[in-house]
Symmetry: C3
Subunit: 133 residues, 3 copies
Amino acid sequence: MVAYCTAVDSLHDLDGLCDVFTPDATFDLSGIGLPRKLGHAGIREFFTAVFADMSHHAHYLTNFALTAYEGDRASARAYIIGMGRSKAGNEVTVNGRYYFDVVRTAAGWKASRYTMDFMMPLPGSLAVIHADR
Amino acid sequence: MVAYCTAVDSLHDLDGLCDVFTPDATFDLSGIGLPRKLGHAGIREFFTAVFADMSHHAHYLTNFALTAYEGDRASARAYIIGMGRSKAGNEVTVNGRYYFDVVRTAAGWKASRYTMDFMMPLPGSLAVIHADR
Amino acid sequence: MVAYCTAVDSLHDLDGLCDVFTPDATFDLSGIGLPRKLGHAGIREFFTAVFADMSHHAHYLTNFALTAYEGDRASARAYIIGMGRSKAGNEVTVNGRYYFDVVRTAAGWKASRYTMDFMMPLPGSLAVIHADR
């Protein structure tokens, strides 16, 4: 999850983002009003657009919890404070939770499913910043 | 401490809250102008009221430090960013520290004493939100 | 890094600050427009002035990552939300990253180099608060 945030906050590292996920991962931000994407191609598509929009990102992870773990599968949750500023000058901070389902692969643990929800009310500016995503 | 925040942020899980504490725990928020409660009954009383007031909670834990540890007793500190929004629409963010004294029991480590202090000035709205607690 | 923040947030503990660093450490905040200091004397000088200015501090560390590790040397990165309030009443929050190069010594791991950068735009008030540093 830290690697995911590092890539998100790089504002350019699409390979680093894909490296966090299995090739067929479900990347589903519909819980916060953003798209659901499938696999590395979908993840690249989403972040290509996000990175084109944003000039600054800072995603702070806390409150890690392993919520399931058996064999080569696990589920983890963390809290997130996600800050962003768009090139147009809009700033947004979101307060929520990340949920990662992960599987053990030959290349280490990878996320097969990622979802998010909000803990504090959705700021209106998120929709403005990512209006076309 | 993560389990405590998870229960606080559930806005309903009184059993989960009690499960963090010993039956005779001291739950003392007098350091931030809130009540001091004793045991599971006191904790239930406090959070029944808080959960009735609040529509949103998000409590972010960081900077964990074990400040004492010997045998079956330990003390831990963490920083907290605590966000809340009341059903009446008041929002508050508190920046402080949690202090947990914990003891090893047959059911795992439980908190026998919990206190808190502030690191940044006390926002006025905390008193407003929890005026009757 | 937690010990560093604990000392920074104590608003007085110069010995605790020096204890985090090797005697000849490079303490370099030039990346955020603040000074570069050398060794314990420089660190004491910087924080003597900071502590004289500030009435409140709260520095939240997240997203720890070990970015290098070989033998008795390592590099670590963490995200930081740094909050401060000056005695004059100015408040500032900075969102960035800490970078620590650390070495194993007879007294444990110590930081030989510390730098910082920002993830969100530099707030103007940081310059105001630490104008003479």
